[in-house]
């Protein structure tokens, strides 16, 4: 079975927030909630770097370990999903999550949290019908054989999603050559790229 993972190549991310928009669009996420965020370090300084983050579908998921209702489960693909019927909005998953992924709608009195919402790797969630699933969790693209829309739409292919092994292979190749052998643009039809075609890595100092 595949183990699904995200990976954001910070050397490529240009902070366009296309992934954020794609996600909002694919999943019809509630007002005020943004499952993906783009973080920029050292903005406007030399060494500025951006990275897109959402739920990373942890192997040993902290959210799962602390949830008092035990509403999380892992799919065979290693995707961490949760059952909104069980969630009580206690916020513990947010305290534990390394990536600030869980978010809560705030329509209730005294700031009481609504049911937690987070990235589902575009894999929907537990529901009785397709409509209910879409309404509660958003798209189930995985069921249709598609990958998460954020990564699919990433203009620089900084954000990768898919089987951990494949993602790691792509990234390893990029690190070695700084530039996927076809620059990840599939325009070279298999022939090795020339030096000029490779994306240049300014950090590679020998």
């Amino acid at each position: 079975m595949a183990q699904m993972k995200f990976m954001c190549d910070a050397e490529r991310c240009i902070e366009c927030n296309g992934c954020v928009t794609a996600c909002k669009n694919a999943n019809d996420v509630e007002w005020g909630i943004q499952r993906r965020r783009v973080v920029t370090l050292n903005d406007g300084e030399p060494g500025e770097v951006s990275i897109s983050v959402a739920c990373m579908h942890c192997d040993d998921a902290p959210c799962m370990a602390v949830c008092p209702t035990d509403c999380f489960y892992k799919t065979d693909d290693g995707i961490v999903l949760h059952d909104k019927d069980l969630c009580i909005g206690c916020g513990y998953c947010l305290y534990a999550c390394p990536f600030g992924a869980p978010q809560f709608p705030k329509q209730n009195a005294f700031g009481e949290r609504g049911k937690m919402d987070k990235c589902t790797f575009c894999a929907g969630g537990p529901a009785n019908s397709k409509e209910e699933e879409y309404q509660k969790y958003g798209a189930n693209r995985i069921a249709e054989g598609k990958l998460p829309l954020c990564a699919e739409m990433c203009s620089t292919k900084a954000l990768l999603a898919g089987d951990a092994q494949t993602v790691a292979d792509i990234f390893r190749q990029r690190v070695v050559q700084r530039g996927h052998e076809d620059g990840a643009w599939s325009s070279l039809e298999g022939r090795p790229a020339t030096a000029d075609e490779l994306a240049y890595d300014a950090t590679r100092q020998q």
Partner: protein, 348 residues
Amino acid sequence: MNLLTEWLHTWRVPLLALLVLLSLGMAGPVLAQADPEGEIATAVPATDADTWRQVRSGETGPNYRDSRFDSNYNLINASGETWRQIRNRWVSPFGLIAICGMLAMIVLFYLIVGRKHLDEPRTGRKLLRWTALERSLHWSVATLFIILALTGLNLLYGKFLFKTLFGDAFWAGMISGSKMLHNYLGPLFGVLLVIILAKFLVRNLPSKHDWTWFKQGGGLIGKGRHPDAGFANGGEKVWYWLLATAGLVVIASGLVLDFPNYGQSRDAMQWANIVHAVGALGLTAVALGHIYIGTLGTEGSLEGMATGYVDETWAKEHHNLWYEEVKHQAADADETLGEESTPPQRSS
């Protein structure tokens, strides 16, 4: 037209040509930089180990940006794992040990030592110990405490038991009910606890004979050995001061968790959660002792909190100093209650 504009008008084309030439000249070195070796020599490193070390530490700095609406989170929540480990590895197991250990000790104590009966027969004359206001305060706080303890325990341990036992549908209702009760009754408990603490403060100020009381183990074991005690004995005072310290801390930390709309940070809520859990589990364990001593453990105590009146003998044995102060007020049972000296007992 003034002189300057006229001048510009005339020389416009030659000036532009000059600019173009100049910029071409400048472009020379820029183009040369496309040479990889040259660029490597002058490049500023983007992401290096330092960047990620900073991320790992959870610092953000002034030039940190997060594209999410009103987000104040750093990139990596470094303290999240610490919180998880403290909660799951320490608080949960040791809380269970504390509470189950206390229960086991009480059961053992009851089986071995048994109930503390009055040494002398009752005189049938009654003393007013708790006014109606004090009793209603006590029972309101007690009821809320028990509800909060049970729902709190359910939040910490319920998933291991009830989810598999009753299935998801029942569990969903049970746990969301627990959270609602816990979150909405918590602040009410806080207000009432502060009132009752203020009301009972003077009686619970420590005094010298409390020390002797402790040294003699509160006279819990054995017959006829009752150390001196005023209105409140040493044990009651300890329970009072536990509630006045740990109890207030539990309430304060609970409020931090209960109202996430004041912008308190995620780290603050992690700490509040640990403090809240440790304090509340500890108080629950001690409360079990309080409940035992006040009901099953001591003859004649529960009727005091239930009816307000205690028997003269009980007062003499358990609170001799207080008895000396108030003995002249002792009245026959019929005058105070209009019923038998042992009124029907209330369960908590």
